[in-house]
């Protein structure tokens, strides 16, 4: 049975094992490779996408649960918060190896959609599930504050 959903505004339908994690559908079937594999057990956040507007760990989300949902990946991320976050990330060169940064940006964008001016504590709480092994955390925190200020404009 094909499973249908929307990814980055496009209707998609896949006919795969319904237990297949959304992560592997995005990558192997749809070739949206910006969403990364890091652990497979929702511990690192590298696979974070937006599902119906909320952050979701795609590595533990079976595709059967995505039927009819609206998914956004790093490739389709847009809007004022996303633009501000990505611009802030570039402005202070947050990424090192870069592998976790799609997930970091998906979570940071969601944070700013919910809290316009997050405190350090808000940031720590929201970003706690996103590991960066390069430890770019100092700049992640700074970039989120910078993006919030840009949005206050």
């Amino acid at each position: 049975m094909p499973i249908s959903f929307t990814v980055n505004g496009e209707e998609r339908s896949v006919d795969v094992d319904p237990d297949t994690p959304l992560l592997w559908v995005l990558r192997d079937e749809l070739r949206l490779t910006g969403t990364k594999f890091g652990c497979g057990i929702a511990q690192c956040g590298a696979c974070t996408v937006h599902l119906d507007g909320m952050t979701r760990r795609s590595c533990v989300t079976p595709i059967s649960m995505a039927e009819g949902s609206d998914i956004t990946t790093i490739e389709g991320l847009e809007g004022p918060e996303a633009d501000a976050v990505q611009a802030a990330w570039r402005a202070i060169d947050v990424p090192q190896c870069g592998y976790c940064q799609s997930g970091q940006i998906m979570t940071a964008t969601s944070l700013l959609q919910q809290i316009a001016s997050p405190s350090d504590e808000d940031i720590d709480n929201a970003m706690a599930g996103n590991i960066c092994r390069c430890a770019t955390y100092v700049r992640i925190r700074q970039a989120i504050h910078d993006a919030a200020r840009t949005l206050e404009g």
């Binding site: 192997d28 890091g38 690192c44 570039r90 870069g98 592998y99 720590d124 430890a135 955390y137």
Partner: protein, 712 residues
């Protein structure tokens, strides 16, 4: 980089044959000329030398011989070229150089590879010469076009001028390609630098914020099978037998094959491969496996460290006589096995043709990996694309090239076509190649003035190098990576001895960000801090007093960090200074008690790495190196049950630093005109001892076993 397009399609494009003597021959051999036309900016233009391509659209692409996994060579080496070309930073691009040892060897290694924080150090003059050569060719072309002597040409921010005539690199590229490359072009005086030493934006930040940066895992080839391998549950175990009947029933599983490192499951997609591996039944031969528990190993290692060990590495004076009858201060330090845990687990893509193989891989030792692929696959040509890698910290630089070997065995068992080998996080955590389990034992005696009368140091650890193809670099001597940082002690001692006990285990070990300094930095800096406290000395002044004239640069970073640090709070403050890979780093950590364990609130860091090519990258590496060091100090260890089973599987049991535990960090870079040294590793060693010293001075409790907060 369009990885879906075959390189062969570009062979018919315009190839401008110019270059340094010997390059044309090497290009024919390596295919580097074709590679140049795949670069940004369209075909044509000028390949000034093996490193620089000027395209008609005015972009300048620098081929980077070192892998980029966050430490910054794409930006740093591009800066060197842009500086000497007088290019505009906005026209600069970076791309991975092909794997070709004749053109792209690490001059510190004699093979193409990255490690030991050498990328900038070995490239500094080479890339500047390459840039200066390209500039000279562009200037010669401009002189012809303008009809003026070369000495009337000026170049600034990529604009080439003479009088009121002006043009761009792109417009000159084809004419410049016909110029003779100078053999030994002069480079700038450091006083004339306009880009080196400035905070240029990194060349790869944009692609790493929109998902477009391509890593090995992102490579998909037509008809490619995804492969995972069932690896032994204990180190040293081998496949005895396996039953793949259930695995072959999984939809999408195409093949199961035994390879030397385990049992490989080939499937149409990743999920099917993982499900197929779960469905395998494998019997393991554990007759040669490591079965000791971690506690047993620590007890054995501790005895060996106390006994001193068979390798006497350094000796001055008579330690035994000096310790005899003296009041002895002693300490034992225990360091666990550590996984590197790069965010992108190990992976490789192999496409096997009749007589050649094409590889996509985050290869840190291209020359070795190429040779292994050629040998196992029985092909003459191995076209290796060095991909961006999601971290390494040493993990991808394996002397035995085990990942390349595994990928090659998988491809060989499959025949023609493409395979992608993917390790899961569990494969990574349980796959070995750890920072060695290490125990230090130090005994010392002080004289009445607080000077060090004797320092007797024993280290027990496996060798990372002995028994590997890199062993020859030791020339029969001891493995310096086991004790580097404990030798050439920066503190004056009247009588000194350093011994190493080489321990043995089937657990494979490897260099881990800053290698021996990960533990020697801790042992030396914690022990000296205790000695200073015993004799009532200030941790900074006391260290300075024990250093000689040879330690001028250690003294400078220590003095600088003490000036920076605001130690006025009601917290613990700990200091450490470590020289590693030719770079000097001192740190002070501000420590608070967070539920009975130390939390670093703020860290001050002073670094002397010679000429600071890009201060922004250097600060980033200090921040990251500190975070990496805190992970290990607080949380990380790999341990074995009685019987040898590995306890840790994933990030839930192998804990690393999260954002809430990250301190704020202030970095000062000491001005210097010395040749640049590395920054990828040296930020890591001082932080753990700085935290432990701050904690001890605050609470009175010395921390001598890492991690501080073991996983229950």
């Amino acid at each position: 980089m369009n990885i879906q397009t075959s390189r062969r399609g570009f062979l018919t494009g315009l190839i401008v044959a110019v270059a340094l003597p010997g390059l044309a021959r090497a290009q024919q051999k390596s295919g580097a000329a074709a590679f140049f036309n795949e670069l940004p900016g369209g075909s044509g233009g000028m390949s000034a030398n093996a490193f620089i391509r000027v395209a008609p659209d005015n972009t300048v692409t620098v081929l980077i011989k070192h892998i980029e996994f966050g430490q910054g060579p794409y930006t740093g080496l591009t800066t060197l070229v842009a500086e000497e070309m007088d290019a505009d930073w906005s026209q600069m691009r970076a791309a991975a150089a092909p794997a070709d040892v004749e053109l792209y060897a690490n001059l510190a290694m004699g093979m193409q590879g990255t490690g030991g924080s050498t990328a900038m150090a070995n490239s500094f003059m080479q890339m500047r010469k390459a840039g200066a050569g390209a500039r000279a060719m562009l200037v010669a072309a401009a002189a012809e076009r303008f009809g003026v002597p070369v000495d009337q040409i000026t170049v600034e921010k990529g604009i080439v001028k003479a009088g009121d005539q002006s043009t761009s690199f792109g417009e000159l590229a084809e004419a410049a390609a016909r110029q003779t490359a100078p053999e030994d072009p002069p480079v700038k005086d450091p006083g004339d630098f306009t880009l080196i030493g400035t905070d240029l934006p990194k060349v790869d930040s944009s692609a790493k914020t929109d998902g477009s940066a391509l890593f090995t895992l992102d490579v998909y080839r037509d008809g490619m099978l995804t492969v995972v391998v069932a690896h032994p549950p204990k180190f040293g175990a081998r496949v005895a037998s396996y039953d793949d009947s259930a695995a072959m029933q999984v939809q999408g599983v195409r093949k199961v094959a035994q390879i030397p490192s385990g049992v490989a499951v080939y499937a149409d997609n990743t999920f099917a491969a993982l499900k197929g591996r779960d469905a395998l039944t494998v019997e393991w031969d554990e007759s040669k496996a490591e079965t000791r528990s971690t506690e047993t190993m620590i007890a054995e290692w501790t005895s060996a460290a106390k006994a001193g060990g068979e390798w006497e590495v350094e000796k001055s004076g008579d330690v035994d006589a000096a310790l005899n009858g003296a009041e002895i201060v002693e300490a034992t330090y225990v360091f666990p096995y550590l996984a590197h845990g790069p965010m992108e687990p190990l992976d490789a893509v192999v496409e096997l043709h009749d007589d050649e193989a094409e590889i996509w891989m985050g290869s840190q030792m291209q020359t070795g990996d190429q040779a292994i692929f050629a040998k196992i696959l029985g092909v003459d040509k191995v076209d290796l694309h060095t991909m961006l890698a999601g971290g390494s910290f040493g993990r991808r630089a394996t002397p035995d090239c085990h990942l390349a070997a595994e990928a090659a065995e998988i491809a060989k068992a499959n025949g023609k076509g493409a395979i992608k080998l993917m390790w899961t996080r569990e494969d990574d955590m349980q796959g070995g190649y750890y920072r060695p389990l290490t125990v230090h034992h130090i005994r010392a005696a002080l004289n009445e003035q607080g000077g060090i009368e004797a320092w007797d140091h024993g280290i027990a650890a496996q060798s990372v190098v002995i028994g590997t193809p890199f062993e020859q670099m030791l020339q029969g001597g001891p493995d310096f990576t086991a004790f580097e940082g404990a030798n050439e002690l920066r503190y004056q001692t009247a009588n000194h001895r350093l011994r190493w006990a080489k321990m043995d285990s089937p657990v494979p070990t490897l260099w881990w960000r800053s290698v021996g300094h990960t533990h020697t930095g801790f042992a030396v800096e914690c022990f000296i801090d205790e000695l200073l406290e015993k004799s009532g000395k200030d941790p900074v002044e006391g260290r300075l007093a024990l250093m000689g004239e040879e330690q001028a640069r250690e003294k400078a970073v220590l003095t600088r960090v003490a000036e920076m640090a605001d130690q006025s709070g009601d917290f613990g403050y700990g200091v450490a200074v470590v020289k590693s890979f030719g770079t000097y780093v001192a740190q002070i950590a501000e420590i608070e008690d967070r539920g009975g364990v130390p939390h670093a609130r703020r860290v001050w860091c002073a670094i002397d790495c010679g000429t600071a090519v890009n201060p922004n990258v250097i600060r980033a590496q200090m921040e990251g190196g500190i975070g990496y060091g805190i992970s290990a100090a607080l949380h990380s260890e790999v341990t074995f049950d009685e019987g040898g089973l590995i306890r840790q599987r994933n990030w839930d049991s192998y804990r690393i630093l999260r954002i809430s535990e990250m301190p704020s960090i202030e970095v000062a870079i000491l001005p210097s005109t010395a040749e640049p040294t590395g920054v990828g590793e040296p930020g890591t060693p001082p932080i753990a001892p700085a935290i432990a010293n701050g904690w001890r001075r605050m609470t009175g409790t010395a921390l001598r076993r890492l991690p501080i907060i073991p996983v229950a």
